[in-house]
Symmetry: C2
Subunit: 358 residues, 2 copies
């Protein structure tokens, strides 16, 4: 049976991906050299489509890693000498904080109350902090930190770099790139691609910081050194063999999204999320995990279940509707539903009809 | 025009891969959760087929990274406190040595003469060395370090871990895993898969070393900490979202190779390499870069060209036969030809016919 995956990543492939993969095989994309012109053209096309899609300013570069998880390490390795500060509102922002600590940094954090975003009034950042890390959209809990909070941080603390995890909210999120320094995501969420590619959008300020650290000898150049990555990216090259197929597919999906129009994608996302939250609110056995509507993610909808989540997951699965379990400690308490660009209004309505029967 | 890629990675896809990708799309492999049973089954199948194919002992684990380049960093990070030693016989083994140095290790090396493997008599390893790194098959130069040399190292220096780059020689290489501690490769070479997956075969001795370092606090746990990777792998899980599609495809191709029989693949490889080296030897405008036949790689054949390599590369490309240029500093001096399991005898004979015309 053909299933519809509403899991928050890996998720349903974007609806054009099957055809793009078949075309990539015809064009022998996986066989071309990553040092040749054909690959450079693919990289350039992907960057160009992505720039258009998310209105990326010229002072940002598009770098490829293998996952967003990897990017945590790259950020700390390349841009932090001693101190980082983390807004923790779920498992993934917590792991970023942990990564910084394990890498020997003085990494402090402020934590959100359960089921909420960080109260921006609780943030207090010392002058030594070099980088602020936060997740705009926590895939684990379905909480979204309002963009206005991020901008307020920038206004109050103009010096530290700001790194924003948009793993499960880009390209829905309409972020002002001038008010942050880097933004990163994986392609298996909203872009609906096979996992195995991380995308790191980095501005010149972050690269300058990496250069400054390197010149002091405190930045250890490794497998993916930011300076080397940026130098290679400037000529559409990578520091090692990349996931060429996924880079090709990302460019094609971004092109499809541009053709459809991001405005339309955003409007549909809003509509579908309203349908989902309405269903949860009215449902006798479901309850929004994030109470404050200002903090509710539009792309990752999380509900507490009355009883085991299996009461929903299992029967829906039999109907070919695959929803996610809660993340980590919430495994037996939550269901998670992805509301990504590939999910049509009709599919979400179908899902809601079935949720209402359980 | 459908081309045949004889480039030494990315290369021609293994001849069953197109169909396996189409089947993966039908089965929605890229959409399944990497935390669910369906993924565990895929991981287990891939490990089982790979174990059978290369006769991997039980005390080895199969871990997934995103590339072999990444594995250099992981090895140093997890298994070396202070000292490593490197046999350098080309650009890739040199980069591994550089990686160790950049990571702050006391990394020494012995270098091969140009166009040769390391003379094992030149190796002198101090008792402080914790790890010996070498490339069995240097994709950059087409030199193969004889396995007997590796075993001799083990006999003479039983204490350091031995890490062998088999990026472009596995599964052709018939290595005795008891005489080394880890072996690593990327899937876009002999396995003929899309790039984006590294495979790290690690024995219990290497994992014990990582544990010992961790217990002393000298091993910094990061994004891919060996202990965590091994713990997850024991239940067919990964520390972060992996390239599920490539893991699936690797299992399928290993299964196909098992069905054909590795003996047959090895015999064909020997035959095809003999045809290639014979052509180069007899050719008025080509010459083997590696003179000593004992050091000539069977899977990556490198020739010096009389004049520009473009005299071969360009006209053959027009015929749909894509061969590689020299690597790095040899770009304008060499051609490189992959002789991987996907390349049939007929394809190699066709290539040789055309080489003979130029």
């Amino acid at each position: 049976m053909n299933k519809i995956y509403f899991t928050p990543g890996p998720s349903q492939l974007f609806y054009t991906v099957d055809e793009h993969i078949k075309q990539a095989l015809k064009l022998q994309v996986p066989s071309i050299s990553h040092r040749g012109q054909a690959f450079k053209n693919i990289y350039e096309h992907t960057v160009s489509q992505l720039r258009t899609l998310v209105s990326l300013p010229d002072n940002y570069q598009v770098l490829f890693t293998n996952s967003a998880t990897e990017i945590w390490e790259r950020i700390i390795q390349n841009c932090v000498r001693e101190e980082s500060y983390h807004l923790v509102n779920g498992a993934f922002s917590d792991k970023f904080h942990q990564t910084a600590k394990l890498m020997g940094k003085n990494a402090s954090k402020v934590e959100a109350a359960e089921g909420s975003a960080v109260n921006i009034k609780d943030v207090s950042i010392s002058p030594e902090v070099e980088l602020i890390g936060l997740a705009h959209n926590e895939t684990s809990t379905g909480v979204a930190q309002p963009l206005s909070d991020i901008y307020a941080l920038r206004d109050k603390y103009p010096d530290p770099l700001i790194a924003v995890d948009v793993v499960s909210s880009i390209p829905y999120i309409d972020i002002d790139f001038e008010k942050v320094d880097m933004v990163y995501f994986s392609v298996q969420k909203c872009f609906g691609l096979p996992a195995g590619l991380g995308v790191w959008l980095v501005n010149d300020r972050a690269i300058a910081k990496a250069r400054a650290l390197a010149s002091k000898g405190t930045n250890i150049a490794k497998y993916r050194q930011l300076i080397a990555m940026a130098d290679e990216a400037a000529r559409f090259q990578t520091t090692s063999t990349p996931n060429v197929l996924d880079i090709y597919l990302l460019g094609k999906v971004a092109e499809d999204m541009n053709a459809k129009g991001l405005d339309m994608i955003r409007r549909e996302t809003d509509y579908k999320s309203a349908v989902l939250y309405h269903c949860i609110k009215e449902h006798p056995n479901l309850e929004c995990f994030i109470k404050d509507t200002a903090y509710q993610s539009k792309t990752t909808v999380v509900a507490k279940t009355n009883g085991s989540p299996k009461k929903f997951i299992d029967p829906l699965n039999k109907l070919g509707l695959v929803i996610g379990a809660g993340y980590g400690k919430y495994k037996d308490e939550h269901i998670r539903i992805a509301n990504f660009p590939t999910h049509s209004k009709e599919q979400i309505e179908l899902l809601v009809d079935q949720l209402n029967k359980h």
